[in-house]
Symmetry: C2
Subunit: 345 residues, 2 copies
């Protein structure tokens, strides 16, 4: 093993200085150097100043790995997502990152690519060198998750397992508002363009649509877009138009965006002849027309999840936490009054 070949020499600075070298150079013990960095209040101001000055000159930086070994605190957390490239995640990652940063933590990012085996592998690699993990839209089965949660503080996002800290984006209120919005605009007959049947979020949304539509006496049909994507959304347009509905709520913004394109290709004007609502609010105003959508607050989810993880790491066990994030409707320009000409069908 061993250091760089030329690090042994007396005067020559080693490639990366250790605590011992700083100690020797500043004429104090290793313990003092250590304390100068981790518990400076124990030392004279003067000593701290001197040690730090020497350390600075040598370019010394405490070795995190060694520190972690003796303290058990690594200063790392892991975040595993199912697909980095899905626009839902980048804001979440960014927010999680930011929160971790503020606490002085480094974050490992894992990308499971929707594959449970891969996710399990990643967890295995991470778990030894992190103080806690966040699993966003985990595809692992309950048993595995529970096992990992025993070893380390663990927070789930959009996965509802009893006894494990989790943050859930509750799209029901936003969806309800969307239905109300459409009802007020005079729509009586709408479509829900659905996502993956196994997805917790999709179940959430579909149920909310049904419940709320029923309450207001709207008729709702379900049209699948699987897997949910721009393309499947676009392809669904024909069927949706043919069904005679005047508005649609899509599983997510990508599907909604595809739907917009599909409608445009069919010369159906939005919002004049048809209204579209998305879900997640990840596209901002970048669609044409700008999409009315249910804000899923994905950034908040990342922030809150890391926050909960931190408090869990600090030892505040505090039993079960099931943090719900409310959603709300963001009205832009893809929704408008129901067209008068074609009624009910």
């Amino acid at each position: 093993m061993k250091r760089d070949p030329d690090s042994g020499g007396e005067g020559r600075p080693s490639v990366v200085p250790t605590i011992s070298q700083v100690a020797k150079a500043s004429g104090v013990s290793r313990a003092t150097v250590s304390r100068a960095f981790s518990r400076p209040e124990m030392l004279t101001k003067e000593t701290v100043r001197r040690v730090k000055a020497v350390a600075d000159k040598l370019g010394y930086v405490p070795n995190q790995v060694a520190r972690a070994l003796s303290t058990g605190r690594h200063g790392n957390v892991a975040l595993i997502v199912s697909d980095v490239a899905n626009p839902f995640f980048p804001p979440l990652i960014r927010a999680a990152q930011l929160r971790a940063d503020q606490a002085g933590l480094c974050v490992f990012l894992g990308n499971s690519d929707e594959d449970p085996a891969r996710e399990e592998l990643l967890v295995g690699r991470f778990i030894g060198q992190v103080e806690g993990l966040v699993l966003a839209s985990s595809r692992l089965d309950e048993e595995h998750i529970r096992r990992h949660a025993m070893r380390r503080p663990l927070v789930l996002i959009n996965r509802d397992i009893e006894g494990i800290t989790r943050v859930l984006i509750d799209t029901a209120p936003g969806v309800a508002a969307a239905i109300a919005h459409l009802a007020e605009l005079g729509h009586r007959h709408i479509a829900y363009v659905s996502g993956p049947t196994t997805s917790w979020s999709n179940q959430q949304r579909r149920n909310a649509v049904r419940r709320e539509a029923e309450k207001r006496g709207l008729k709702v049909i379900a049209v699948p877009a699987r897997p949910p994507s721009y393309d499947t959304g676009r392809l669904a347009a024909t069927q949706i138009v043919a069904s005679g509905v005047t508005a649609a709520i899509a599983f997510d913004d990508l599907v909604a965006q595809g739907l917009l394109a599909g409608l445009a290709a069919l010369d159906v004007e939005v919002p004049k002849s048809f209204s579209v609502v998305g879900c997640d609010d990840v596209l901002g105003e970048t669609t044409y027309p700008p999409l009315t959508t249910v804000s899923a607050r994905c950034a908040d989810a990342g922030d809150v999840a890391v926050g909960l993880l931190l408090s869990q790491m600090k030892g505040g066990v505090s039993g079960e936490i099931r943090h719900k994030l409310n959603s709300h409707l963001v009205i832009r320009a893809s929704t408008g009054p129901a067209p008068v000409k074609r009624r009910s069908r």
Copy 2:
């Protein structure tokens, strides 16, 4: 410090077993247990089997941190990007991730938010616990980058510093093809919607546009969109239309998408009355109309960068590497023949 309170007891299994416990339980030395995991070929098959069986029963997993401390190999790399939420990065991150995974490495992700100070902080936190780093679109100054490169293998993406391994996405060929494409369609007068003046990529693209346009006798005006975004792109539409050009090439896809929206708002039909070309190819077909764009192969960049980092980590110092990735034009539906009515101006 210290372990979990109940880990001391004789029979009770500690929360996370160490090599010593496995050694005792299987009646061999710590060294043997260590070798059973890291160099099994040194041991009898029978011994390996026995040790692993015991380890398994106890739920022992080698502690990465301790291993890293003694070997210097941490099995981690860091990837720092300037903005996770910029659609350019997720594919890059995903590809880098994948490549690292295959090599059994964990990746730290850092988000500098375009801030050099923050980036420097992140590097400082990471550098002690990684074997190498990739800096994508780094905002650090040359001196800092050089210093870090001395301590650890380091690869840059889209940053051109002599003597440091870097992968550069060369958009010139794609931009040239775009100009050729527009010229063939009869456009004589075009606009370049430019990005940040300090950006290496922007300089690249602007120069390529100028050079190629000159070669083909097209006239080019520059219109700024700063910072480059959907909004600034949209706002630039008025000025661009007023200038009398019939086509525009944008610094990136986001700007192009904004421009499309701005044009639509002005009732300028694309591609009938105006052609738009983007850059990066990060939006796929999701714009309306689908965007003709210069593919920047951002995923490849991530993959190649990690690949180079790996070979650098293996000790293949091998002098300077300046890896160029070629780009090409992806023709979709936002470009078409120049309108005949309004000529030159």
